[in-house]
């Protein structure tokens, strides 16, 4: 167990993110890519994701305001968003994206709308958690190598 209290806290946060299904294996991949030449790689990637995906969220929102729904377009947007979310291992967000696409395929506008709301919630929750996580990480100093969550 980490003796440094900050590091210990970081470990706990990290473990919880995995245990609660917010993050998946892909996040570990990112951690493994982090090295001396890119000491903040994970945080950079996550920041980039949230910046870029905001645009996609906006697109979907706007598309959902135009009735009748253009399911094809909605599906295309969500496809993009899902791909992006997979890059950081946003597990719950990804799951909602898949569900959304299912609703699109079946032309279920209601389902799409409900799903999208849930998706935004997960999306926002994850962002908050990750922001907190990186804050502690910065304070704790350089991390040890990534360890796989059980």
């Amino acid at each position: 167990m980490e003796r440094n209290p900050l590091r210990r806290q970081l470990q706990i946060m990290r473990k919880s993110l995995f245990d609660q299904g917010y993050l998946d294996e892909q996040f570990v991949q990112l951690e493994e890519l982090q090295d001396e030449s890119n000491p903040n790689f994970v945080e950079e990637v996550v920041t980039l994701y949230y910046r870029d995906s905001a645009r996609l969220i906006l697109n979907i929102e706007q598309a959902l305001e135009r009735k009748p729904y253009n399911f094809h377009k909605l599906d295309a947007y969500m496809h993009q968003f899902k791909g992006s979310s997979s890059s950081i291992g946003a597990k719950k967000v990804k799951a909602e994206s898949t569900l959304f696409r299912e609703y699109c395929k079946s032309g279920n506008g209601e389902g799409c709308m409900r799903c999208f709301q849930q998706l935004k919630k997960e999306y926002t929750t994850l962002r908050k958690k990750l922001e907190a996580y990186f804050q502690v990480a910065r304070q704790a100093g350089p991390m040890e190598t990534a360890c796989r969550p059980k």
């Binding site: 294996e25 892909q26 991949q29 990112l30 493994e32 890519l33 890119n38 790689f41 950079e44 990637v45 980039l48 994701y49 870029d52 995906s53 295309a76 496809h79 993009q80 899902k82 791909g83 992006s84 997979s86 890059s87 950081i88 291992g89």
Partner: protein, 569 residues
């Protein structure tokens, strides 16, 4: 280690797959960043692109600037499949598709459009590590395509591109042709419907010949796809088709060139006329030859022609023994050269050298020699050695082409040994000896292998027997010492070079040259060392002409290196 030449703008040869030049195309900036990092971790050279349009112009700008393209399927400005088609047609690069969507239909579409792989996001780094195989595979196939069109086979297997050697074997062409047929069948379909599928030109032999004719007409250095296309006058052929074919052809030619360079360097050994004073001591071996009954030699050589080489060793052993025993130290200097030439000539009539023997399987054995350091054989250490023109008449006769090549490192060891052993006794004798060795001597020296024997299973007994029965005290001492030495080394390398009297000089030159009048398979890395002009220039090429009749018996280049290192370490 050389990877591929021609068509690559940057030399990444030795480190392949490190330095593989990857172009990543993805509209998702997050993925672009991640992929870039992953690929960099694989030691690849990464270029990223957010737009398919940009990617295409990048590719067009630097025609040979990339080895492989990785592209997302869903992109705003261009469908990934369309990009795939363009890249395949124009640049003929391997393309890997990516998508978060793993639906079978999508994957199938990718494959149909010519993707060499389809990766699902999220992509793991381990998936990216192996993308080099697609580059490699494509290159093998490309070169083979041309080879089959040209009717010869340069590649023995995929590993050729990694420099395991060239091999001109008849057996390979059939497999190459079979492949070509299969490919043609496959590609015929595509040609008829270029709109839906990637249109691939079927480069038939006729078409390829037209192409080659056009290239030759224009002049290879001035050649360009447009010019070729115009000359070929094939209406349905596009500039892109010609461009990609030209690229392959260039690759193929560079391989040919390399091979012929190697061959030429061996063949081109000059035999200068011996100054008469140098004819001196070499007589030792040659004079007796003069007196030797022709039929002995006859028998010797005819045996060697028939591949029952072990037997010939016996005969030669005897001959050698005779020769050795009668080696006098002092002989009139002038006499020798003449003697030699005479004996040579008589022999030449007897020897029915079969060039084909040398050609087919001989290849790789030579290669081994290249692997040794030229330095131990530096001619500067042996200033008196010159190789004389006398040897030329021997060329066509060559029993020597059947001689197995002695393992270089072994030879060197022996050389070193014999230096110490022989020097005190035979300085003068030795220094002149080498140059005037007749083929018969050499045959003795180099026990010929039967077809079924591997290098390591040499029949050395006759030679050892020869040794032990040598009468001349001084010589025999040395010879014995050397034969022991040789024997020891034989086990290591399978070839005995028993005669001390022949000295390291001969042995050296043995190693240096390539006696094959015809082409043979050589391994690139070894040949480069062979090509040391200082070493080669003075050795009669026929001395090195022992082919390995069966390429299976060739030591792996790795083995040569292993032995090499073992002995030189």
């Amino acid at each position: 280690m050389v990877f591929l030449e021609g068509g690559f703008s940057s030399p990444r040869n030795d480190a392949f797959p490190a330095g593989l030049r990857v172009l990543v195309v993805d509209d998702d900036p997050t993925w672009l960043k991640i992929l870039e990092k992953m690929l960099k971790k694989c030691s690849y050279e990464v270029t990223t692109c957010g737009l398919a349009r940009d990617a295409l112009s990048l590719l067009r700008e630097r025609k040979n600037g990339y080895d492989i393209v990785i592209s997302d399927v869903n992109m705003p400005d261009m469908d990934g499949f369309k990009l795939l088609e363009h890249v395949g047609l124009e640049m003929d690069l391997p393309v890997i598709m990516m998508s978060v969507d793993g639906e079978t239909s999508r994957v199938m579409k990718g494959v149909q459009h010519g993707a060499c792989d389809y990766l699902l996001k999220p992509i793991r780094m381990k998936e990216l590590r192996n993308i080099w195989q697609h580059v490699f595979r494509k290159k093998i196939h490309e070169v083979r395509d041309i080879e089959s069109l040209e009717g010869i086979q340069l590649t023995r297997s995929g590993c050729d591109l990694f420099d395991d050697g060239y091999f001109l074997g008849g057996d390979d062409t059939t497999s190459g042709r079979k492949r070509k047929d299969a490919d043609n069948k496959h590609e015929d379909r595509d040609l008829t419907d270029p709109s839906t599928k990637k249109a691939r030109v079927v480069w038939t032999v006729d078409l390829h010949q037209k192409f080659v004719r056009a290239v030759n007409q224009i002049g290879f250095d001035k050649v360009g796809p447009k010019k070729i296309l115009d000359l070929m006058n094939v209406p349905w052929l596009t500039r892109e088709n010609v461009a990609s074919h030209l690229q392959k052809y260039r690759l193929y030619l560079s391989r040919l060139q390399k091979e012929s360079d190697i061959k030429n360097s061996f063949m081109g050994m000059k035999h200068t006329d011996p100054p008469s004073k140098d004819s001196t001591a070499s007589f030792g071996l040659h004079k007796p030859m003069n007196t030797m009954p022709d039929d002995v030699l006859n028998g010797t050589y005819s045996f060697s022609m028939s591949n029952s080489l072990a037997q010939s060793v016996d005969l030669k052993g005897q001959a050698d023994r005779n020769r050795i025993t009668s080696v006098p130290m002092a002989e009139p200097k002038g006499a020798l050269s003449k003697d030699i030439s005479d004996s040579q000539k008589t022999k030449s009539s007897q020897m029915s050298f079969d060039h084909s023997l040398g050609s087919v399987d001989s290849g790789v054995s030579f290669a081994s020699f290249g692997s040794t350091n030229p330095s131990p054989y530096s001619w500067t250490n042996i200033p008196e050695i010159q190789f004389k023109q006398e040897y030329e008449p021997f060329q066509p006769e060559n029993g020597f082409n059947q001689l197995p090549l002695p393992e270089p490192s072994m030879i060197e060891k022996e050389v070193n040994r014999s230096r110490t052993e022989v020097k005190p006794l035979f300085d003068e004798y030795r220094s002149n000896l080498v140059e005037h060795l007749s083929p018969a001597d050499l045959v003795d020296l180099f026990p010929v292998q039967s077809k079924t024997q591997t290098l390591k299973n040499q029949v050395f007994n006759p030679i050892s027997a020869t040794k032990s029965s040598m009468k001349t005290k001084d010589i025999s001492q040395n010879c014995l010492a050397d034969s022991e030495f040789a024997q020891r080394n034989m086990n290591a390398a399978g070839i005995g070079v028993p005669l001390a009297s022949l000295s390291e000089d001969l042995q050296i030159c043995w190693l240096q040259g390539d006696g094959y009048p015809m082409n043979f398979a050589l391994q690139d890395f070894e040949c480069s060392e062979y090509n040391n002009p200082a070493l080669i220039a003075e050795t009669p090429f026929y001395l090195f002409g022992a082919p390995r009749f069966d390429h299976e018996h060739l030591l792996d280049p790795t083995e040569y290196f292993a032995i090499d290192q073992g002995l030189f370490a």
